[in-house]
Symmetry: C2
């Protein structure tokens, strides 16, 4: 298969659609982030990349806390809006009609309408160029009770959605099941040759 | 909406399914990683979390280079296999029938069958506990020519897939379009009140 060199670029897919929250001068603000994921298991940590000029970044630096909120597909307009409006100019919480709550950290605002909320305390930050990578220890996970099945998170109810940039930037829910993890690959074991 | 405290946990969704490659003692090995994303735009960087005992990690430390390969849905068995087998015991390249190629870094093995391949040089590494977070500068992106439309990546052709843990761990392709990004949220602007 022929390969084409595209030059250095930011191509990882799929990406999540996340709303990162912080209190800026005591007032909650949220921004949309696609560049975030888990960074560590024990203890649980997340890593999110925030562009230097973002209003939310001021609040992360002020409090050394932030939140990661996972919107469901019925919040796609709000999630998109938080990526195109700036908290320096407008009150996004008011415009989106978000209900904000706080947890044990006290300064990491969270969105009640989002089914999953992570409360994070900044553990490390790396200035990488255009972005700061914040590594936050996840101190608590809050989940909406109607997104649980037998006490566990049920992603069929959460309905998180992905952000994809190509061919044109858009949001997608998840589609067809391709296979069970830690299972569908087992048939390749028959092809193994011991080293 | 009632919220339930789940305790600290690793809950970010959706996550990508990635194959991270490194040469261990000169031999290519690949592992499946869901905890990876972009960390910086200018210059392009990625961050991937690798558990301490993983065989691939030895190769990253030896060469300070690695690759991130994005499999398409027709490689779901191979992607799952690379997460359940260890390169310390078996030759995953042989078992998966991968064709390996190298780019400008020389030591970051890439999988020809994967439509997108990122060649990365380790810029930072953070020991966070159970995992090391490797921040790699993306030196080149290789794309399969049949996954381009008019010279640009076309994710409808790439068919990347997500990894979801709940209710049970599984892989999913992307589904329905929920809205165009930087567009669908504009209607909320009418609700703005200037601060």
């Amino acid at each position: 298969m022929a390969k084409v060199q595209m030059g250095p670029g930011t191509c990882i897919y799929p990406m999540p659609t996340l709303l990162v929250g912080a209190n800026v001068d005591g007032k909650p603000n949220f921004m949309t982030v696609a560049w975030g994921n888990i960074a560590n298991a024990e203890p649980p940590m997340t890593a999110v990349a925030i562009r230097a000029n973002r209003h939310t970044r001021i609040g992360i630096e002020q409090n050394k806390t932030f939140s990661v909120n996972i919107p469901s597909a019925d919040l796609v307009k709000e999630a998109d809006y938080c990526g195109i409006a700036s908290g320096a100019r407008v009150d996004k919480v008011q415009a989106c009609r978000f209900t904000v709550f706080y947890g044990k950290l006290g300064t990491a605002p969270m969105i009640e309408q989002c089914p999953i909320n992570l409360e994070c305390r900044v553990q490390h930050s790396l200035e990488l160029g255009s972005h700061t990578l914040y590594i936050g220890r996840i101190e608590e996970v809050h989940a909406s009770s109607d997104c649980l099945t037998e006490g566990r998170l049920d992603l069929d109810k959460v309905k998180p959605f992905a952000f994809m940039e190509e061919p044109s930037p858009a949001y997608y829910t998840l589609g067809e099941l391709q296979g069970k993890a830690f299972s569908v690959g087992r048939e390749i074991k028959s092809r193994e040759q011991s080293d």
